[in-house]
C-alpha cells in the first residue's frame, strides 16, 4: 500500500534529496507517494508543519531547535531523524566591499578575510554607517556560521556590524540597492547575485566549519511517532537519492529537475554549479572548484549527530543571550534522532557510525571511526579557528565565548 507524505520546502538547492527521491522513484520503491508544498518563507514552512499542512519539512536546523525550546512562540517539540546536508552556503559581498577586503575571483582565507573585514567594519562604524550583512533567518545555520566567523575575527555581531534578515530570492536586490553590504545565503542565491554582477562570492561556509550541519528533515515529534514506518521508508529513499545526487554522471539531469519552477525555480546552470562544487565567484569568470562545497551523502553526512544539535544549542544561547540550562540542552539534544536513522537503515548495508555523538571539529585529517555497520572514515571536520566542541562540556564551551 502506498503511503502519502507531504513535504514542505523552501526553493533552495539543498531541498534536493526529497525532490530527487520523488522524481527518480526511490520514494515509490519504498511504498511512498510524496507531494510537495513550496513556500517562500521559513515562517510559513514552519506554520504548515505545525498545523498539519505538511508531514515533514526541509528546515534550517537551528529553527528546529528554537521551535522545540519555544523561542518566539509556544514550544512545540520537533524531531529531526535525518540531516538533509552539510554546508552549501557562501558569503557574498558587494563588488566594492569585496575589492577592499578580498581578492575577487578567489575564495579567501577565512582568517585573513576576517581581519580585513574587521578593519573595514571598524571604519564604517566610526563613520556612523555600520556594515549590514544579510542572513536568511535569525535561527539559521547561515546566521550561526556568519556570527561564529565574525566573532572569531574580532567583529562583534549586532554591535560592530548589523545582521539583518533578507529572504534568499531578494539577496541580490538588497545588495544592488545598498540595503546590505553582503550576505550569507544558500545556493543558487549567491550565484544569482554574481550572475547579475551585484555580488562577489568570497567564502564558502565549508571554510568556516568544514562539516557544518545545515538543513534537517523535520517532523513534529508526535507525527514522527505516529508515522514511524513511513518516516523510516523516507529515510531509506533519501539515502538512495543522495547516492544518485553525488554521482557526477547525474549532475546535469538533476540540475535540470531541481531548476524547474515547481522546485527551486532558477537557472539550471546556476544549480549545476552548486551541485558540482563549481562556483563562478565573479561575473564572467571561470568557475572555481571547491570540493565538498555541498556535502549531502558521503561519510554518513545525513546522520543526525546529537553533538551537532548540542552545538546549535550553544550558538542559540550565545546569540540570544540566554543562560545555559541543562533542561534546554537536553531538549535540544533530543531533537536529533539517530535512533530513528539507525532503525531505518539497519540491515541495508549502508554506513552507520558506532557512536551517536562526537567531538565536533576534532579531526584534521581522514580518520577511521568505529561503525555499527559498514566501514567508516570521517575526513577533516575542523572549525577555521582550530577550536573544537566537546559535547561532554556544553556549559564550558558556552562560557568560553563570554
Amino acid at each position: 500500500m502506498t503511503e502519502q507524505l507531504t513535504i514542505g520546502f523552501l526553493p533552495l538547492v539543498d531541498a534536493c534529496l526529497p525532490i530527487l527521491a520523488h522524481e527518480h522513484g526511490f520514494a515509490e520503491d519504498e511504498g511512498l507517494a510524496l507531494t510537495f508544498q513550496r513556500d517562500v518563507s521559513w515562517a510559513t514552512v514552519l506554520d504548515r508543519l505545525l498545523y498539519g499542512h505538511s508531514d515533514a519539512a526541509h528546515l534550517i536546523a537551528p529553527l528546529a531547535i528554537a521551535t522545540t525550546l519555544g523561542r518566539g512562540r509556544p514550544a512545540q517539540p520537533l524531531a529531526a531523524p535525518f540531516v538533509l546536508g552539510l554546508n552549501g552556503n557562501a558569503i557574498t559581498l558587494t563588488p566594492e566591499l569585496a575589492a577592499r577586503v578580498a581578492e575577487p575571483g578567489r575564495l579567501s582565507d577565512p582568517t585573513k578575510l576576517g581581519a580585513a573585514l574587521a578593519e573595514e567594519a571598524r571604519a564604517r562604524k566610526a563613520a556612523g554607517k555600520r556594515l549590514h550583512l544579510g542572513v536568511v533567518h535569525r535561527y539559521s545555520s547561515h546566521s550561526y556560521m556568519l556570527r561564529y566567523w565574525l566573532a572569531a575575527s574580532g567583529i562583534r555581531p549586532d554591535e560592530d556590524v548589523e545582521i539583518v534578515t533578507v529572504a534568499p530570492p531578494f539577496v541580490a536586490d538588497a545588495m544592488e540597492t545598498g540595503e546590505i553590504d553582503g550576505a550569507c545565503v544558500g545556493e543558487p542565491w549567491n550565484s544569482a547575485a554574481v550572475d547579475r554582477g551585484v555580488g562577489v562570492i568570497v567564502l564558502a561556509t565549508a571554510q568556516i566549519w568544514r562539516r557544518g550541519v545545515e538543513k534537517v528533515l523535520a517532523f513534529r515529534a508526535p507525527v514522527l511517532e505516529a508515522r514511524r514506518p513511513a518516516a523510516e521508508a523516507l529515510i531509506r529513499a533519501l539515502r538512495k537519492a543522495g547516492a544518485h545526487f553525488v554521482d557526477p554522471a547525474n549532475w546535469e539531469a538533476n540540475a535540470a529537475i531541481l531548476a524547474r519552477p515547481e522546485y527551486v525555480g532558477a537557472d539550471p546552470k546556476l544549480v549545476l554549479g552548486a551541485i558540482s562544487d563549481r562556483l563562478v565567484l565573479v561575473r564572467g569568470a571561470e568557475p572555481v572548484n571547491y570540493p565538498d562545497f555541498m556535502f549531502q551523502h558521503r561519510e554518513a553526512a545525513n546522520f543526525p549527530w546529537v553533538s551537532q544539535a548540542e552545538w546549535l544549542y550553544t550558538q542559540l544561547v550565545r546569540w540570544d543571550h540566554l543562560a545555559y540550562s541543562a533542561a534546554d540542552a537536553e531538549a535540544a539534544a533530543r531533537v536529533f534522532r539517530p535512533d530513528v536513522y539507525r532503525s531505518a537503515l539497519a540491515g541495508t548495508g549502508d554506513m552507520l557510525p558506532g557512536a551517536s555523538s562526537k567531538v565536533e571539529g576534532s579531526l584534521a585529517r581522514p580518520t577511521a571511526v568505529t561503525a555499527q555497520q559498514g566501514a567508516m572514515v570521517l575526513a577533516n571536520n575542523s572549525f577555521f579557528d582550530g577550536r573544537s566542541f566537546d559535547p561532554d562540556d556544553v556549559e564550558g564551551y558556552i562560557a568560553s565565548f563570554a
Partner: protein, 197 residues
C-alpha cells in the same frame, strides 16, 4: 485599533480591508510594497499585523518583531494556545496574525475570524474565476468540434452536437473531452487551417 494588512496582492488586500472596515474604531493600513516595509510598519505602529502566508517578507517581519527596540510595545505572533483552533483556521485560510503584547484575546478573535472569512472568500472568488475561464474554453472547443463535424460530414449543427453527445455517453466521458479530442485530431490530421476559425 490600528491594523496593518501586508499583502502583495492588492485585490486581496482590498477585500480584507473592506471586511475589517465593519469593525468599529479600526484604522486600517494596506501595505502591498515589499520595499520599505519595515519603515512603514514603524510609522504606522500597528496593534495588529495581518500577513498572507505566501508573502516572502514574513521572516523579515518576524525578525523585526523579535529584535526591534524601536517598538515600545513588543509584537508577537498570535499564538494564544487557548485559541489554537482560530490559529489553525487562519493558517488554513492562508493568513497569519501578529499582535501587540497585551491586546486582549476577545478583541483579536472576531477580527481574526473576519480576516479568515475574507481570505476564504477571496480564494473562492479565484476558484470561481478559474472555473468560469475553464467553462469558456470548453464551450469554445465544443463550438469548434461542431463546425469540424458539420464541414467534414455535412451534417446540421444539432446533429453534430447529438453525435458528440452520443460518443460522450457511450465512452463515459464528458462532451467537452470528446470535443477536445475532435479538435486535436483535426489539428493534427486535417488540412491546415480548416476548422481553425
Amino acid at each position: 485599533m490600528r491594523i496593518a494588512i501586508v499583502d502583495e496582492s492588492a485585490s486581496r488586500a482590498t477585500i480584507i480591508e473592506e471586511g475589517l472596515a465593519q469593525i468599529p474604531d479600526c484604522q486600517i493600513f494596506v501595505l502591498t510594497e515589499r520595499r520599505g516595509l519595515l519603515a512603514r510598519i514603524e510609522e504606522i505602529a500597528p496593534d495588529i499585523v495581518l500577513i498572507d502566508l505566501g508573502n516572502p517578507s514574513r521572516d523579515v517581519l518576524e525578525e523585526y518583531f523579535a529584535v526591534s527596540r524601536v517598538l515600545a510595545r513588543p509584537i508577537a505572533m498570535f499564538v494564544d494556545e487557548s485559541d489554537d483552533d482560530a490559529i489553525a483556521a487562519s493558517i488554513d485560510a492562508g493568513v497569519s496574525a501578529y499582535v501587540v503584547d497585551g491586546l486582549a484575546a476577545h478583541r483579536i478573535r472576531p477580527l481574526l475570524d473576519l480576516a479568515v472569512r475574507r481570505f476564504n472568500a477571496f480564494a473562492r472568488l479565484q476558484t470561481d474565476l478559474a472555473e468560469a475561464k475553464g467553462k469558456l474554453a470548453e464551450r469554445d472547443a465544443i463550438d469548434r468540434a461542431k463546425r469540424i463535424l458539420m464541414k467534414s460530414k455535412g451534417v446540421t449543427e444539432p446533429d453534430a452536437y447529438a453525435e458528440l453527445r452520443r460518443k460522450a455517453m457511450s465512452s463515459n466521458r464528458r462532451i467537452a473531452e470528446i470535443a477536445e479530442a475532435v479538435v486535436t485530431a483535426h489539428d493534427l490530421l486535417g488540412p491546415a487551417g480548416e476548422g481553425a476559425g
